[in-house]
């Protein structure tokens, strides 16, 4: 059995060698790992053709900037080559796959070798160590397990660090709170809106998180949230809440995490090359300017992704930090360069909503999705115009509304608020229908 070393509790770093590299060392390592990754990608016919067409060979990579000669990879590429078309190792070398829900077409599938899983666990352990967690801590994970990477990703990372883990999984707030109290949970991973929900239930149950639990650290992510929301969460529970960034395409959680400074997320540049580009021109933007986050995984075996367009909009805050880590600091996500919405950790495209609404002949083609934050809970309202008044009976109209709600819930896994509105009443802008209005506090 392979034993992974864990440093002494007093050490500030889980992996001091990599975490405290100078910029020069980081870039030298990136060049080497990018070369290896390009070499590995050459074994895949789709990548090989793209790299050949662009005239890229492993030997021609001599600086990090050389990455710009490599073509971008998109979510469409993953879908088009579903399920295993972009794998760079034989399937017999893979030990796990994770998949998106794939409701907008083919799902995206990400393969992992055992080494990929080990490195992923190391990344997550590095993050949790960075915010002060040690093997004596108790880590509770309220993520869904299964295909969603927030479950197993944090699970293996927390185990790697050596904590006692409580794989509570999603939902059942009363049980979550009982576990927290009974097992002396010190760290919790949750989506921000769920933390608010837990706090509400605690209040109803007369539980004071400061007195009745030993909670000291929260890891929050998988859902956009503002600095104000974070402050509120911290004040509610009396703990520090650290922002986590992950995406299944890169592995899952662990890609970036805030240090104790809480001034941007350190993206681990020994694992990823981070670019911020103008989503229109695809040219790099200067540090500090908002653009689309592009990530290249440079230490993955099964399915490295070259210049993957995340569609997340953010910016570089800096490349040094008082914590001693020189890995680039990235701002919290500012929005999307496509029409994807992230609500309570679930990715939703308007086309999914549209597809369901079109199934109802009673409904017209015009609809409006409004995202709001109501008392810290993010909600989706779907207003849809009625095509023909097929009844003048309130009960039948309510039945229609219920059925639309049910089908939408099956599709997007969240229950939206559905409103039937008269024909011609939804807003139109410059002759084009307005489909999504995001009034959540996060992007303001």
């Amino acid at each position: 059995m392979i034993k992974f070393p864990v440093p002494d509790d007093s050490c500030e770093y889980f992996d001091k060698e990599h975490e405290t590299m100078t910029r020069e060392q980081i870039e030298a390592l990136q060049v080497e790992r990018l070369r290896d990754t390009v070499r590995r990608c050459m074994s895949n016919p789709i990548y090989k053709k793209r790299l050949d067409d662009a005239g890229v060979t492993p030997e021609s990579i001599n600086s990090v900037a050389d990455i710009r000669r490599i073509p971008f990879t998109t979510k469409a590429d993953l879908r088009d080559n579903y399920p295993f078309g972009l794998s760079c190792v034989p399937l017999r070398d893979c030990v796990r796959l994770h998949s998106s829900s794939g409701t907008t077409g083919n799902p995206t599938v990400i393969l992992h070798t055992q080494n990929d899983l080990d490195e992923w666990a190391n990344q997550v352990a590095r993050n949790l160590w960075m915010v002060g967690l040690r093997p004596s801590d108790v880590f509770q994970n309220s993520s869904g397990y299964g295909m969603f990477t927030g479950g197993l990703g944090f699970q293996y990372g927390a185990e790697r660090l050596g904590m006692l883990t409580v794989p509570a999984a999603a939902g059942n707030s009363l049980r979550q709170i009982k576990f927290m109290k009974d097992f002396d949970t010190t760290a919790l991973h949750a989506v921000p809106s769920y933390v608010t929900r837990l706090y509400e239930v605690m209040q109803q149950e007369g539980v004071d998180p400061r007195k009745d639990t030993k909670l000291k650290v929260l890891a929050i992510g998988a859902e956009p949230h503002s600095e104000e929301q974070r402050q509120r969460i911290q004040n509610m529970l009396g703990v520090k809440a650290y922002n986590s960034f992950g995406m299944s395409e890169m592995c899952g959680p662990g890609v970036g995490f805030e240090c104790k400074e809480q001034n941007g997320l350190h993206f681990w540049e020994d694992y990823y090359i981070v670019e911020i580009v103008d989503p229109e021109t695809l040219e790099p933007v200067p540090d500090g300017e908002i653009g689309e986050l592009v990530l290249t995984s440079i230490k993955r075996e099964a399915m490295p992704l070259l210049r993957y367009r995340t569609r997340d909009l953010t910016r570089v805050l800096g490349r040094t930090c008082p914590c001693g880590r020189n890995h680039v600091r990235i701002d919290r996500m500012k929005g999307r360069s496509d029409d994807m919405m992230v609500l309570r950790g679930v990715n939703i495209f308007p086309i999914q909503i549209e597809k369901i609404l079109m199934n109802f002949k009673e409904l017209a083609s015009n609809y409006l999705i409004t995202l709001t934050t109501d008392e810290d809970n993010d909600n989706m309202t779907v207003e849809v115009e009625l095509e023909e008044l097929f009844t003048d009976d309130y009960a039948r109209l309510q039945d229609l509304k219920r059925e639309v709600t049910r089908q939408l819930k099956d599709e997007i896994l969240l229950t939206p608020i559905v409103k039937l509105v008269p024909k011609g009443t939804l807003p139109v802008s410059d002759g084009k229908a307005v489909r999504v209005v995001d009034k959540r506090k996060v992007y303001q």
């Binding site: 009625l386 095509e387 023909e388 008044l389 097929f390 009844t391 003048d392 009976d393 309130y394 109209l397 409103k419 039937l420 509105v421 008269p422 024909k423 011609g424 009443t425």
Partner: protein, 144 residues
Amino acid sequence: MTIRQISVFIDDKAGSLVKVLDVLKEGGHQILTSTLADSPEFAIYRVLCTDAERAFKSLKAAGFNVLLPDVLALAVADEPGSAASAIRILSDAGISIRYMYSFRLANKGILVIRTDQTDRAKEVIILNKLQAVSESELSAMIKA
């Protein structure tokens, strides 16, 4: 034996009702009675007006979600207990009412009834000698 009612689907925003009424005004329709229940989000405005079919077409042309359902209009004596007697007859025959509203016209009480069992209701009305008014009878009562 039945008459046609206008049902318009409107939202709960201020000004929705005025738009409907403006169309009726433009067409010179006289409103005999109308009803609007309080309901969350949306409402159905139900109107009995003169020249219902033309009103329906105008509202449709104006882009409204509108329906022209058949309803029963029972004329009863303008005295205590007449509504109870009429409704008991329907009730005893097992006819359930979806909704009902009433108004007074030409010294008569008019009970406007929407049921899913219109054909059965018609039989019961004939057998029990209830007075169901037609659209032309209604017009005559307005002029009287």
